[in-house]
């Protein structure tokens, strides 16, 4: 489904990501882990079109999408979430989802302004769909609250829900659990696993190693922009290079 070859991004002389390869098959759930500054988010930015790669190629369903605009890549079915800017603050929870439905509710300007029956029908369909998504993620009770007034955990879930509204074929989740407490992490992981079971292919960045281990079928590990390992979660846990990358000094001390 997704085929990344030799992907690199240089900022000045610094290689943030260096010759990164990864392929993801339809229906998989894959984790991308690594210490801070390893280049995980930069990789996401390149896949989703927010950053233009210095070199390398990104193929999605047989089409070369390297360096295309974010909206174009989104229209092909790759939807990402963000670590920081995750919701439309001044909109209600419901409006957030409706905004996320942009792609599958194309309404022309005139159609929309004149409030033609066709647009009303589409509007109703979008609202129903939005409600369904809110029920699915468990935010239906608070659909009329302004997003900025939500607690942090709910904001993160809403961020995922916005992405779901765009009907992703491949969902890129950037640290969905950052800043969450243990209970929230468990809930979020359950939600992600539910999304995956519905048939969405997922690539997720995770800082919380245990969370990633529990849910991913396959894991790729980045360190200083290079992929240092890839394989089953259990293998990664025992991989010497991975442990060193994560624990650095301590690993050396015990050796």
């Amino acid at each position: 489904m997704l085929e990344i070859k030799g992907l690199s991004k240089h900022f000045g002389g610094l290689a943030a990501v260096d010759k990164f390869d990864l392929s993801i098959n339809q229906g998989e759930i894959v984790g991308l882990i690594g210490p801070n500054g390893a280049g995980k988010t930069v990789t996401f930015d390149m896949i989703s079109g927010f950053l233009r790669p210095t070199s390398g190629k990104i193929m999605f369903e047989g089409e070369d999408i390297t360096g295309r605009h974010p909206y174009y890549i989104a229209s092909k079915g790759i939807i990402r979430t963000f670590q920081a800017t995750s919701v439309f603050s001044e909109l209600t929870v419901m409006q957030n989802i409706v905004a996320g439905c942009h792609l599958n509710a194309k309404i022309g300007l005139l159609e929309s302004i004149l409030h033609l029956p066709s647009s009303r029908k589409k509007k109703e369909r979008v609202l129903n769909k939005a409600l369904e998504i809110l029920q699915f993620v468990g935010l239906a009770d608070i659909k009329d609250i302004l997003a900025k007034n939500l607690p942090h955990g709910h904001k993160r879930v809403l961020g995922i829900a916005i992405a779901l509204a765009a009907e992703p074929k491949l969902l890129l989740l950037d640290e969905s659990t950052s800043g969450m407490n243990a209970g929230e992490v468990t809930d979020a992981m359950e939600l992600i696993s539910k999304i995956w079971q519905r048939g969405t292919t997922i690539l997720l960045i995770e800082h919380n190693m245990r969370a990633a281990m529990g849910i991913c079928q396959r894991i790729a590990v980045l360190s200083f922009g290079k992929k240092i390992a890839e394989g089953l979660p259990a293998e990664m846990q025992e991989n010497k290079e991975v442990i060193e990358a994560y624990l650095g000094v301590e690993a050396n001390a015990t050796a």
Binding site: S48, F50, H69, P70, Y71, A74, S75, I79, R80, T81, F82, T85, S86, V87, F88, S89, E90, L91, Q95, V98, A99, G100, H102, L103, A105, I107, L109, S112, I113, L114, H115, S119, K122, K123, V126, I162, A163, A165, A166
Partner: protein, 261 residues
Amino acid sequence: MSVGGYTSALLVMKLGVSTWAAMLAGGVAAAFLALMVGYPFFRLKGIYFALVTIFLSEVIRLVLEQWSSVTGGTMGLTRIPKPNPIVIPGLFNMDFASKTDYYYLILVLALITILILYAIERSRILVTWNSIRESNDLAASVGVNLNNFKVLAFCICCFFPGIVGAFYSQYMTIIAPNAFGFTFSLYVIVYLIVGGAKRFAGPIIGAIILTLLPELARGLKEFQPFIFAVVMMAVIAFMPQGIVGIPQLLTKFVKERRGHA
């Protein structure tokens, strides 16, 4: 507005187009200009975008001054025909001989504009524009083509002033390059801020109040820019929601008072 005014005036004077078609063409011309400059302009963000729009209006003014063979140079265009009369036999007869007829015309234009804008306000497309305002990146991530939507908004925003420019030229029967100066553009922004930018009624209320107020205080005309500046700063400091935010502000105030008591 200059673009709309000149376009419609020239169409009527040189090509003999009907004044009503020319008025519409004034709006279309302004929107078309917005379409042409929109894509390059929106590569810039925030304050830089504001700067280039100011530069553009200066460029337009200079072009109008220099291109004298068409625009009449600094003197502008004179003896622009009045609007063609509207006559419905037995009902009414508007020949635009008196100011009253112009008043009703601009009133109808204003109502139509508000109606169209209100329809947009209630439409699905507003959610998309709001999402862009809230976060460019997040909107793009769900597939919004930012440039297209920004340019579309820009075109709509230029269409109505284009019409007004055409109306102005037919009302004054003259138009000169300095008809709509930089000060005028600034005043429009003051209306917006004082009225309240986030609510539909805000700019309308702001424009009404700040147009009527100077009429009541004609003796202070020289000080108008000062007064406007003070009013605007006061609004920014004490009621960031603008005049439309006053009811909210009051209820909040009363609640807090009760809370303390």
